[in-house]
């Protein structure tokens, strides 16, 4: 095992696993993009290209069945790493009634809340207090020890009241919440300087009284080390942790958007580099994986994606005549009072 630059030991299994999630996410998202352009997708397509290292390192640091993970718009890699089945993604994008949202919600809004993965709403920052509440419940139930809840947001979401209120609440309660902010420099088309006035978003951590970390989001080794450490601190009782990852999304806000508002000097700058290419080099140079292995994974994931797409495409779409068209769990009228 080689040490990281900060002296901690490089975890071979972690890095290989995180990279595999990155690669699968990229292959899947390339396919989604093609399907979108072919008019096969119901609704929009939102990709995490360029943000896979951050997302995968968070997902890989979490334990499914124990931890909570509220993914956001650019977290295909983190979802995969956390254990979301590939078919959940293709079913939701392709509108299969078999998917977790049954056609009632789409694309990145999918989730499996009873398995620790809440389904995001579009209102940014709104998942922060939800994850805090999941953790709070575990504290009341006496099963919080060793558990972590994590969520990802972007630079834009740090301007919302929901982010502020949620993080402040989690800090007051000292909950093991990890917030990973992917600062991809543009909220849709709005640049950082129209979003916040502090020099670096991580400065906000101090104000909330939570741990703060910065990391180069294009660097898998750095992400693994920093995000892993943040999750570890939260798990060990250190309270909420904020990680700010600097990066650039390598696509538009959605596939309908060409991202032409990103100036070429940023696109061609350090954060414009592709985290997958960086990670491949890092794995090979550190003898964590061979080039042949990586190509084999690529083939394997290509087949997996094709199968998941084909299966979802063959499945039924929702039938309005079979819908029960009720938003309530309770079936009214109820014949007698519930409470004895």
């Amino acid at each position: 095992m080689k040490p990281y630059s900060d002296g901690t030991v490089m975890n071979r299994d972690f890095l290989r696993s995180a990279f595999r999630s990155m690669l699968l996410a990229r292959i899947l998202e390339n396919k989604l993009s093609s399907l979108y352009k072919a008019g096969k997708i119901v609704g929009g397509v939102y990709l995490g290209r360029g943000q896979e290292a951050v997302s995968a390192c968070l997902g890989t640091s979490l334990i499914q069945g124990t931890d909570f993970f509220a993914p956001l718009i650019r977290d295909q890699a983190g979802r995969t790493a956390f254990g979301e089945p590939l078919i959940d993604c293709t079913r939701t994008y392709l509108g299969s009634v078999e998917g977790p949202m049954r056609g009632r919600d789409g694309n990145i809004h999918r989730g499996r809340p009873s398995m620790g993965m809440p389904a995001m709403i579009s209102h940014l920052g709104a998942q922060v207090p939800v994850v805090a509440g999941m953790l709070f419940a575990k504290r009341l139930q006496g099963t919080l020890a060793g558990r972590v809840g994590a969520t990802c947001i972007g630079d834009g979401a740090t301007s919302t009241g929901a982010f502020h209120e949620g993080l402040n609440l989690a800090a007051i309660e000292g909950l093991p919440l990890v917030i990973v902010i992917g600062n991809n420099q543009f909220a849709y088309s709005t640049p950082n300087h129209r979003q916040f006035a502090c020099k670096d978003l991580v400065e906000k951590a101090k104000g909330y009284g939570v741990g703060g970390f910065s990391v180069d989001g294009t660097d898998l080794l750095a992400c693994a080390s920093v995000i892993g450490e943040a999750v570890k601190r939260a798990r060990e009782g250190g309270g909420p942790q904020m990680v700010v990852a600097r990066l650039l999304r390598l696509s538009g806000h959605g596939e309908h958007d060409d991202g032409s508002y990103v100036p070429s000097e940023i696109r061609n700058g350090h954060y414009g580099r592709d985290c997958i290419e960086v990670a491949m080099r890092q794995l090979v140079e550190n003898q964590l994986a061979t080039v042949d292995e990586i190509f084999a994974w690529q083939d394997e994931f290509g087949d997996d994606v094709q199968r998941a797409v084909a299966q979802a495409q063959q499945e039924a779409v929702p039938d309005p005549y079979q819908e029960d068209w009720t938003a309530l769990a309770t079936r009214f009228p109820i014949p007698q009072p519930i409470f004895p």
């Binding site: 977790p100 949202m101 049954r102 009632r104 919600d105 809004h109 989730g111 499996r112 809340p113 009873s114 809440p118 389904a119 709403i121 579009s122 209102h123 709104a126 998942q127 922060v128 207090p129 939800v130 994850v131 805090a132 509440g133 999941m134 953790l135 709070f136 419940a137 575990k138 009341l140 139930q141 009241g161 929901a162 209120e165 949620g166 402040n168 609440l169 007051i172 009720t326 938003a327 309530l328 769990a329 309770t330 009214f332 009228p333 109820i334 014949p335 007698q336 009072p337 519930i338 409470f339």
Partner: protein, 321 residues
């Protein structure tokens, strides 16, 4: 010995805390202080680690409750005033209300909204929000008007698997007393004939039930028998009881304390017009607060909301058609 409306709400929460491990209370100033209206007085001492002060973060309070509900808890959130729930609107209508439909996982949270006007409370401590929440699919909206309903509907509301907006009227808190907490204990979703009559139906809810009964008492002196229907739950709406009453009387007045544009009274009129047009002997009428913010001065406030006088006037007009 008498029980007030606020006593009933406190008693219900005490019973829930005692009998259901999943219940906890969350709200501003509700722990040691016992809440702005003392609805949780003494509960923090009685139930350690079950009653929590929240930061002034209405959005996060509901978000947190949703998360806790996903993980099997049944939180009761106190908004200090119904008016402040506008700050939690997103989490209520987009997170809590859509959750079961989207994911199949129910969100059994109960949000207590101290609602309605009291003299001198002004524009931001007087609002009636039931119509706004009832507009959104996925929420149950309750408006108890009696001491017994305040108690039983809170118990039943917490037992529901859906998010419940529990609109309790601040004016009734200490003004309304009953000999006991016991009552007919109707199920949620069923309206009550508070006062039977045959000449006209007044559909009301929350504090307006009492104003409608006063108006009916006055008209009784002139020989009019006014039927008063207490909706109890504005969503679901018990259209059967309303239609049955209109079938008896042929005349309908819907009274609410909320602002006049849309809302519960408009819904009642629309539904009766759709499904019971043939039962009506006169155009259905509605009476609401005026279309201004709720005024501060008691003299203005008293003329802003429906009163026994204005209800009588509306009924006389209805009866003379």
């Amino acid at each position: 010995m008498s029980v007030t409306y606020i006593d009933a709400i406190r008693e219900a929460q005490e019973k829930l805390l005692r009998e259901d491990d999943r219940v906890f209370l969350y709200g501003q100033d509700i722990a040691t202080f016992g809440g702005a209206f003392k609805a949780t007085k003494g509960l923090a001492e009685q139930f350690p680690n079950r009653v929590f002060d929240a930061p002034i973060s209405e959005d996060a309070m509901i978000g947190m409750a949703v998360g806790a509900a996903i993980e099997g808890m049944r939180p009761i959130v106190e908004m200090q005033f119904a008016d402040f729930s506008s700050l939690a609107f997103n989490q209520l209508v987009n997170q809590a209300a859509t959750h079961f439909y989207r994911t199949g996982v129910p969100i059994p949270i109960t949000v207590r909204l101290p609602s309605g006007g009291t003299p001198g409370s002004g524009p931001f401590h007087s609002q009636s929000m039931e119509g706004i929440y009832a507009q959104y699919p996925g929420l149950v909206v309750l408006t108890p008007a009696t001491v017994s309903d305040a108690y039983h509907m809170l118990l039943d509301g917490v037992a529901l698997d859906d998010p419940v907006i529990f609109c309790e009227h601040k004016f009734l808190y200490r003004w309304l007393k009953a000999k006991s907490i016991n009552g007919d204990h109707l199920p949620i979703g069923q309206a009550r004939i508070t006062r039977p009559g045959k000449h006209a139906t007044v559909v009301a809810y929350s504090a307006m039930v009492h104003e409608a009964v006063r108006a009916a008492d006055r008209l009784a002196q002139d020989g009019w028998e006014i039927e008063v229907v207490d909706l109890r739950s504005v969503k679901p709406l018990d259209l059967d009881t309303i239609l049955a009453s209109v079938a008896r009387t042929g005349r309908l007045l819907a009274v609410g304390e909320a602002f006049p544009w849309g809302g519960v009274t408009a819904e009642v009129i629309a539904r009766v017009s759709e499904e019971g047009f043939h039962l009506l002997d006169a155009p259905p009428q509605r009476l609401n607060a005026r279309d201004t913010p709720v005024p501060y001065h008691p003299k203005l406030w008293a003329a802003h909301r429906p009163t026994p006088e204005s209800i009588c006037e509306a009924l006389r007009k209805l009866l003379s058609f």
